[in-house]
């Protein structure tokens, strides 16, 4: 369904290995990240920061989903999750998880569904 892609960069895996310091994700604070989680910067980039970390902070001044970040940075979800975990642990970004259809124990959220419905009807 997607356009044919150019041949895979043969050094792709080495690049990811370097970016993440060999860590494979998601784990720890990255394990709850969703493709629709919104990332918002909470602190400015600091000198000497890894380029990709800086790039994430710059792009997330306004909330941006993990999926959009991945598409813009050309990084697979698992690699991005590792980088995001670093920033989350350092308090440099905040993660806003998608609102589930029904919060645990709080029951189905009819107000949310109504909000989505009226938004769609305005399209």
């Amino acid at each position: 369904m997607s356009a044919p892609r150019p041949p895979t960069d043969p050094s792709g895996l080495e690049r990811y290995y370097v970016l993440t310091g060999g860590r494979s994700g998601p784990g720890g604070s990255a394990s709850s990240l969703d493709v629709a989680t919104l990332i918002v910067s909470r602190a400015a980039a600091v000198p000497g920061m890894q380029h990709e970390h800086e790039e994430i902070i710059r792009r997330c001044r306004d909330p941006l989903s993990v999926a959009e970040l991945g598409a813009h940075l050309g990084l697979p979800f698992n690699i991005l999750a590792v980088l995001l975990a670093d920033l989350l642990d350092a308090g440099r970004v905040e993660a806003r998880h998608p609102i589930p259809a029904s919060g645990a124990g709080s029951g189905p959220d009819l107000a949310l569904l109504e909000e989505v419905l009226s938004g769609l009807q305005r399209l």
């Binding site: 369904m1 997607s2 892609r5 895979t8 050094s11 792709g12 895996l13 080495e14 290995y17 060999g22 860590r23 494979s24 720890g28 604070s29 394990s31 990240l33 969703d34 493709v35 629709a36 989680t37 919104l38 918002v40 909330p63 989903s65 999926a67 959009e68 991945g70 598409a71 813009h72 697979p76 979800f77 698992n78 999750a81 989350l88 642990d89 905040e94 993660a95 806003r96 998880h97 998608p98 609102i99 589930p100 259809a101 029904s102 919060g103 709080s106 029951g107 189905p108 959220d109 009819l110 949310l112 569904l113 109504e114 909000e115 989505v116 419905l117 938004g119 769609l120 009807q121 399209l123």
Partner: protein
């Protein structure tokens, strides 16, 4: 570990935009990407995941280049619902066996649209089974192609073996209003389910 928003993954978090997600599933060539494209506010994007055939030994970089890579992509778009709420639409990869790559792709989704091509019903069986197995509420959208023949909805329901409670609607995935109407049908279905769940038994 304590992150703002992590302990309360619902709307208790202080101001700022939040997101909801809806999955667009269905067999290969049923129009998933077409639907995402027609209804999205942005030009649809693709996020990729790389799967290595052999697990990479984290302590040993030597030989990493020899590992086989498979790239699986996920097309997505978004709709601004209002200032504070964004709806993300994800067209699931045709290869269902890769859905696990995205950290529980369906977890936290409001629900799903399963696109069906009535000329090739069987191509969407797997997607329907997955929605049922993962307990994701869904509607069936029959993507009407120019040479599709008209089948009574109930015949299709029988053939797909879906519950009488699952709505089946016809659509043209290329058309924005038609795709929007499918999403509206999904939200109404979710409302009915919620209302039914709240009724005293």
């Amino acid at each position: 570990m304590d992150f703002k928003g992590f302990d309360h993954p619902d709307r208790q978090t202080a101001g700022g935009p939040r997101s909801v997600k809806v999955m667009i599933a269905g067999g290969f060539g049923t129009g998933k990407t077409t639907m995402v494209r027609s209804v999205s506010d942005i030009k649809p994007l693709t996020t990729e995941e790389t799967l290595t055939q052999a697990s990479v030994d984290v302590d040993n970089l030597i030989g990493v280049a020899d590992k086989q890579e498979t790239t699986v992509s996920l097309d997505f778009g978004k709709i601004g619902i209002n200032d504070q709420l964004v709806l993300y639409l994800f067209g699931t990869p045709g290869q269902e066996r890769f859905w696990f790559l995205w950290n529980g792709l369906f977890k936290g989704a409001l629900g799903a649209v399963v696109l069906v091509d009535t000329r090739r019903l069987a191509s969407s069986f797997r997607a329907i089974e997955e929605m049922e197995r993962q307990n994701v509420p869904f509607v069936i959208a029959l993507n009407v192609f120019p040479d599709s023949t008209d089948h009574p909805i109930e015949e299709i329901r029988d053939a797909l073996d879906v519950s009488p409670h699952t709505p089946i609607v016809a659509c043209d995935a290329r058309d924005r209003a038609s795709s929007r109407d499918v999403l509206i049908a999904l939200i109404r279905h979710l409302q009915e389910r919620s209302a039914a769940a709240m009724e005293p038994r």
